[in-house]
Symmetry: C2
Subunit: 136 residues, 2 copies
DNA sequence: TTCTTGACTTGGACTCTGTCCATCGTAGGA
DNA sequence: TCCTACGATGGACAGAGTCCAAGTCAAGAA
């Protein structure tokens, strides 16, 4: 986590209380918060923090490759701090819980050239859907 | 297409001009329109059709399994009439164009039991991202 | 330590996507 | 042809996210 703050600082990021709190809120495993959730948790520590700042900061972290944006449903995007280890997502259709998962095989390698339509394919994102133990 | 209308009628669907136009707009291959786009095209043929009706009809078609909902970006959902042949999607990060693709291998089979966290996994959805020939 | 300045934050207005609801219209069976 | 329940309408509303003008402050300079 402090690694993250150091890396950001090294890239010329100005370190403000707001940015620090947002980064701290995103720390941990299997964290997939929506922007509103990030704002709520950040506001618990820094009550004056604004929604706009949370959106700005999340957008910057995504741009810097430190956080991933995941659209698990048609609703709010979720933010995943596990950006340096390749993985995919398992989502509960009932409650929306998200887990990071590591399938065998590489989906990118499984798309034959003739199925690429001349695209320069850069990445593959897999979302598994099902019911979690509590919802089943 | 008329097959679709027949199937729907067989399921007790009341056939109105509005529903027919929405179904017609969705006819074809590699069709991935947003609700607004469906509305615009439907309104070209039936000017009085309302947004609410388009949303209702799309929702019903999805519920009946005749159309798939695809969230390719954080923005509007897209509606894919190719619901009876399993496939995934290739999305251009530049212009948002979507193509249906058929990778080899089955992503579901590639998720080991210990990576399922007790979930009853029902489906896997793969989105390939890259740049289309025009955007590259 | 204090000053300076440009980057950052704020909050409110705004946009986009989608849902809801009361009312009106009509498909299709009797 | 008539009836009526199902479907359509449009306007209000809600959720998620963006934009902007004005105020604030981190961090380098003196």
């Amino acid at each position: 986590m402090s690694d993250l703050l150091e890396r950001l600082r090294a890239q010329g990021w100005r370190l403000t209380a707001q940015r620090r709190v947002v980064a701290e809120v995103l720390d941990g495993d299997h964290v997939h918060l929506t922007a509103e959730e990030v704002h709520a948790r950040a506001a618990a520590r820094l009550p004056e923090i604004s929604r706009a700042t949370v959106y700005n900061t999340l957008g910057e972290l995504v741009g810097l490759g430190e956080v991933l944006e995941v659209a698990t449903d048609g609703r709010a995007k979720r933010y995943d701090p596990n950006a340096h280890q390749p993985h995919h997502h398992l989502v509960c259709s009932g409650c929306g819980t998200v887990r990071d998962v590591h399938p065998t095989g590489d989906p990118l390698a499984e798309l034959p050239p003739r199925e690429r339509y001349g695209f320069q394919v850069a990445e593959a994102e897999v979302i598994y859907r099902g019911l979690c133990p509590s919802c089943a």
